[in-house]
């Protein structure tokens, strides 16, 4: 009997462990009409959710179901063929495109850049540092990096007695995690292990806001009064640039990036209609409302 009870506990916890990967389903109830399933980037989940809600007013017969989980989750779903659109805060890797192409009868997935983001590096609001070069960031986050104390950057942070830099990052399913590595560390360098990996964009900013020693990266739309966004310089000695609409558009901010929706092969008509609406002035106004940058001003 006892053994059965123990086995049951083990079983239940394992089931929990396995189902923990399920994303938060923020789905609207399926209606009689067509369904568009979108999963992926956690950076974009608020944005896509806002699109879904507003699209319902325009086309009440189409139900848009949104889930997060990370760009990797979206792209995996795209390859497995269970999604209409994958939201991703990074470009698909060549290997992923190849696998998706094979899965969908030799047709490549289609890429739509639907918004722009200035990926921001956040510090606790009491941290005196205001600007940093990408090289310093690389020494903080990179494998075998040499900077692990705030004093090495010439700062004493109030409320951070130990002076240790607490690196807050994203889980490896995150497109932001992949983008940040490639943009800051380069393609050949790994992250230093031991960063605090959060599952959501908002969690990163919330944790940095509560932790004086911390540094973290997240989308520009997630800024709060408890944190401040660093100005970044591409190289040491160059003037640092703050993340903003303007600097994301003209790409003077070093971590300016596009946010994507991917469709496996050619989108179905009702999905294509949704994408057209997303890229229209109506859809792009929601982008600015959420805090990202519209693709319309892009040259």
């Amino acid at each position: 009997m006892r053994l059965a009870a123990i086995a049951l506990v083990a079983m239940v916890s394992l089931t929990v462990a396995c189902s923990g990967g399920e994303r938060r389903e923020a789905a609207s109830a399926p209606t009689t009409g067509a369904v568009i399933r979108i999963t992926g980037s956690d950076t974009m989940v608020n944005l896509v959710q806002a699109w879904a809600e507003n699209y319902k007013k325009k086309r009440p017969d189409v139900s848009v179901q949104v889930a997060g989980g990370g760009s990797g989750v979206g792209i995996a779903g795209l390859i497995d063929g269970i999604l209409d659109l994958a939201a991703s805060s990074r470009e698909m890797e060549p290997a992923e495109i190849e696998r998706a192409t094979q899965k969908h009868g030799g047709v490549k997935p289609k890429e739509y850049a639907v918004a722009l983001d200035a990926l921001s590096v956040y510090l606790h609001k009491d941290n005196p540092i205001a600007a940093m070069a990408l090289a310093d960031l690389a020494e903080i986050y990179g494998d075998k990096g040499t900077i692990d104390k705030w004093s090495q950057l010439g700062a004493t942070v109030p409320g951070c007695a130990s002076g240790t830099i607490v690196r807050v990052g994203r889980q490896n399913s995150s497109g932001t995690y992949v983008y940040f590595r490639e943009a800051v560390l380069g393609r050949q360098r790994e992250y230093k292990l031991g960063s605090i990996d959060q599952s959501g964009s908002k969690d990163v900013v919330a944790l940095v806001g509560r932790t004086p020693c911390a540094i973290g990266y997240s989308g520009m739309a997630y800024a709060t009064p408890d944190v401040k966004a660093l100005e970044l310089a591409k190289q040491k000695g160059q003037p640092p640039v703050a993340p903003s609409n303007q600097t994301a558009l003209d790409k003077s901010y070093p971590l300016a990036r596009a946010l994507y929706l991917y469709s496996p092969a050619e989108p179905k008509p009702h999905v294509k209609e949704f994408l057209d609406w997303v890229l229209s002035p109506d859809g792009q106004k929601i982008v600015t409302d959420i805090g990202f940058v519209s693709v319309q001003g892009r040259t």
């Binding site: 006892r2 053994l3 059965a4 009870a5 123990i6 086995a7 049951l8 506990v9 083990a10 079983m11 239940v12 916890s13 394992l14 929990v16 462990a17 396995c18 923990g20 990967g21 399920e22 994303r23 989980g69 990370g70 990797g72 989750v73 995996a76 390859i79 497995d80 890797e93 696998r99 951070c160 007695a161 130990s162 240790t164 830099i165 607490v166 889980q171 490896n172 399913s173 393609r187 050949q188 790994e190 992250y191 292990l193 031991g194 960063s195 605090i196 990996d197 959060q198 599952s199 944790l207 509560r210 932790t211 020693c213 911390a214």
Partner: protein, 302 residues
């Protein structure tokens, strides 16, 4: 007439009920084995498709989807699970058994009922809520109290897991104490033993098996817990050097990463290898417990 119908119904319902109950009993075994089979089947191809077991068990580098070179070393994750579990048990075993002793031997019947209800209510709190408490409440408290750079770490996870295990240890432990016949207590009192002497010299040895089961259920809960440790331990891949270092556990790794893996890929398989390892660990704990309990029983019988 009515009697005959009733007899007819009972003639049919009796075996049906009996079989239903029998099925319930056997289904536990069926489920355990089918889950074992499923997990092992998903894991097995990893061993032939490029997972180096040497790296798996000796490397601290967990970089499962690196585009440069994927690395699957679980030393840091094992260290995370072990450290958090040990700390949780160090807090929860004395705490839970102490509570069990107090509730069953020292307090008045009314207080006992109230205490039991409240402590067992702790067990009903969902683990995500515990995770919240760890991340939101304990985090700043630990930073303030210890001066640690970050408050989501082994200490935080250990305290949260201990709080989650205490109700189980307490209620199973209390049952074990209650199961000791009152004649033992009466005999001890007749010999002039104080209350504490009764607990220490009579009840603890007599309830040993039940208490061991209580502790092991607590360990099982701590090893298998996922959501709360995911949120409270910091989820950082590193071998900890102090109680104030953030760590990542095996279960949290599966929970966080399974969704992104492509079904059938190496990363997916390796997560199932970790799942198998977790099952083997709990199985080993249970078997060890059974052997110990049987050993104790054997000696008592002799």
């Amino acid at each position: 007439m009515r009697q005959r119908v009733a007899r007819g119904v009972s003639r049919w319902s009796e075996p049906i009920i009996e079989w239903t109950i029998r099925l319930c009993g056997w289904s536990a075994i069926f489920f355990v084995f089918s889950i074992l089979f499923f997990v092992f089947r998903e894991a097995a191809p990893a061993l032939t498709s490029g997972l180096s077991l040497k790296e798996f068990f000796t490397s601290q580098n967990w970089r499962p989807d690196s585009t440069i070179r994927p690395q699957f070393g679980i030393v840091a994750l094992l260290a995370g699970t072990t450290s958090v579990t040990l700390l949780a048990m160090a807090i929860a075993v004395p705490g839970g058994l102490g509570a069990a002793i107090f509730v069953s031997e020292y307090c008045a019947p009314k207080t006992r009922e109230a205490l039991k209800i409240v402590i067992e209510f702790l067990a009903a709190i969902p683990s995500v809520v515990w995770g919240f408490v760890g991340a939101m409440v304990l985090n700043p408290l630990i930073i303030e109290a210890t001066g640690a750079p970050i408050g989501i770490n082994i200490l935080n996870g250990g305290i949260i897991l201990a709080l989650m295990s205490v109700p189980i240890i307490m209620s199973v432990g209390e049952d074990a104490f209650r199961a000791v016949p009152d004649t033992y207590r009466e005999a001890a009192v007749a010999l002039g033993a104080s209350r504490w002497q009764i607990v220490y010299k009579v009840l603890l040895p007599a309830a040993k098996n039940g208490l061991l089961a209580a502790v092991l259920l607590g360990v099982g809960r701590a090893v298998g817990e996922t959501m709360a440790v995911l949120m409270a331990t910091g989820h950082a891949v590193q071998v900890p050097h102090s109680l104030l270092d953030p760590v990542r556990t095996l279960t949290a790794t599966i929970a966080a990463e399974l969704g992104e893996t492509v079904e059938g890929g190496l990363h997916y398989r390796v997560l199932f290898v970790i799942g198998s390892l977790l099952m083997l660990m709990t199985l080993a704990v249970n078997l060890a417990a059974d052997v110990i309990v049987k050993g104790i029983r054997g000696r008592q019988d002799a």
